[in-house]
Symmetry: C2
Subunit: 347 residues, 2 copies
């Protein structure tokens, strides 16, 4: 075997290494670190190259590439969404991502992102809730107790100070799973029989369900004043969770209007319905919550910059650790014009 040079080796963070990294750092500390990195990047939002994601749709799902760049570092994520996958014992969403150096085009990190996406989605939700939720929010309703639910709960604890989560899912087994996983987390966990019960006393309502359809997880009369809604599940055309009347009563905050109007809850509204961009709230250019009675709504769809932030966090976090393996991904002949000679000599 030919020994590749250092330049040809790309650090790869496998699923196992990602899990080890989480335990090494501690999940709440990692969620806080991710939220900080995401906040930093939201504050310099205009710097980023914002290409809409490139989607390849089929009857059963979608495969997307989400690229972005801050001028120094380029990143992209590959992610699929296949709601029918769970029937065959597969994940609905799997993902991996890459960072590279804009100056040379050479990759500098390749990483699993199925787990990392769950972390960054939760960290983004919590960073936004810290800006928008009512003062002293301590109770969250968690509607939809699937793969995201524990990450959302812990991020809201670590970043917002939530002390109680109230769980509801149409499938009681999902609620039982989420409750069991959160035992020992320090959160008070209450399993509820209805969405209405879950919402009782909650200052933050998180919706995160998976069916690809126009669903109504929250109806208008379920939502009182003075709450923050963290709507995660409405994230592609044809998939929404909230009754339109709730949207009309809310001040709506989005990552990137061009994308959210296609993929988010606001696909149900007119194309010129007013929304506030979160990066402007982060920099102080726009107001966040204006009073205690207001309903604030984060219409979350997930944007490439959040993945970029997460990959940059991981790139820095693995330095000096063993939580990666060098991958021989790049051909690196001694003379760059002599690719053929390198191949020939390997014989």
């Amino acid at each position: 075997m030919t020994q590749p040079s250092q330049k040809a080796l790309v650090p790869f963070v496998s699923v196992d290494h990602m899990m080890q990294l989480i335990h090494h750092i501690g999940i709440e500390e990692m969620l806080r670190g991710l939220a900080e990195r995401i906040e930093t990047d939201f504050k310099r939002w205009p710097l980023f190259d914002k290409t809409p994601r490139v989607a390849s749709h089929s009857d059963v799902g979608v495969i997307e590439l989400m690229p972005t760049s801050d001028g120094d570092v380029y990143g992209f994520k590959y992610v699929n969404g296949h709601p029918g996958n769970t029937k065959g014992g597969l994940q609905t969403v799997t993902a991996f991502g890459l960072l590279s150096d804009v100056a040379t085009g050479y990759p500098v990190l390749f990483s699993e992102m199925t787990i990392l996406t769950a972390l960054r989605t939760a960290a983004t939700s919590a960073f936004v809730a810290r800006m928008l939720a009512p003062e002293g929010s301590r109770v969250m309703a968690m509607i939809g107790n699937g793969a995201q639910s524990e990450f959302q709960s812990l991020a809201m604890k670590a970043i917002v100070g939530i002390e109680e989560v109230r769980l509801y899912d149409i499938d009681p087994a999902a609620t039982a799973k989420c409750k069991a996983n959160l035992e020992g987390s320090g959160l008070r966990v209450v399993a509820c029989d209805t969405a209405e019960e879950a919402i009782l006393g909650a200052q933050i309502i998180t919706t995160c369900t998976a069916d690809k359809q126009y669903a109504t997880i929250l109806t208008d009369n379920m939502v009182g004043s003075g709450v923050h809604i963290n709507a995660i599940g409405g994230d592609c055309p044809g998939k929404t969770e909230l009754a339109p009347a709730i949207l009309h009563r809310s001040e709506i905050f989005v990552e990137y209007p061009e994308q959210t109007r296609i993929e988010g809850e606001i696909q149900q509204l007119d194309a010129d319905h007013p929304v506030t961009e979160l990066w402007q709230v982060a920099t102080g250019e726009a107001a966040g919550r204006r009073d205690a009675k207001q309903i604030t709504l984060f219409d979350s769809v997930g944007f490439a910059i959040e993945d970029f932030s997460a990959l940059v966090y991981v790139r820095d976090a693995i330095k000096g650790t063993d939580f990666f393996q060098p991958l021989d991904m790049l051909a690196d002949p001694d003379d760059p014009r002599d690719l053929f000679g390198m191949v020939q000599r390997a014989g």
Copy 2:
């Protein structure tokens, strides 16, 4: 360490494994196999999802994602182009690619593509030359003796029956390198002092130079009738190699007009200048070369379907071999909704 299940493991073909695979199969046999696979896919061209590449430009280069799908298999390539890289001892172009299953979104192959791109570009050139070059072509001029030159020469030998290559480069060291690498290949290799000398007696003229500028590698009076021009180097906005007068004397064949009009030699022509799509020549729907005096020109820019074909070839070729390693890229909890539990149990 948690042992990932089979579904979570993606076969990865490293640079070293790719080189071993080439030697295992034999480079000419592999070029023939790739050309066959490319021909098969050109013949079913209308089936493919043809998204233009997604480019991220900077002052010093470009990073591109090139996705496509045939409805069953999805593929994409990451590729950079940084002409200044060679000064720092790096490759101008590096690449990797991925195939996945449209039905589930799960990746099924991850592969280096720096070497594979060189092979597929050469195989495509030779497949096209076999359709368009004059009967009995035996001599090729190779203008530009960089990283592509040996692959082009061997593909034209293996697929078209070229017996002699005539080399020219502004840098004699590049020519010397190419000549040395082709010793023992069975080709007659003639190093030339000028482009004019290289073209003498050639039925096929391949241009493959690297500077990102409007260059004139071939002037009008250098090109006689009855040749096939294989123009590889003009492949991005602002980068061309041929004098416009040559284009006006040629019948022009392209991969995908929408992309070639932006990136190819024909960016120098009006947007409605007639061109012929190669897939139509492959299926017999359009004529190729009509007479011995005609100048045919393949304005090659490289299209995602060729990368797809190359990845499918590699996916099949590694079956039953050791030329790959399983990569733990996909989180695969026993219960798909219990991603958190998987992370927790890894602690």
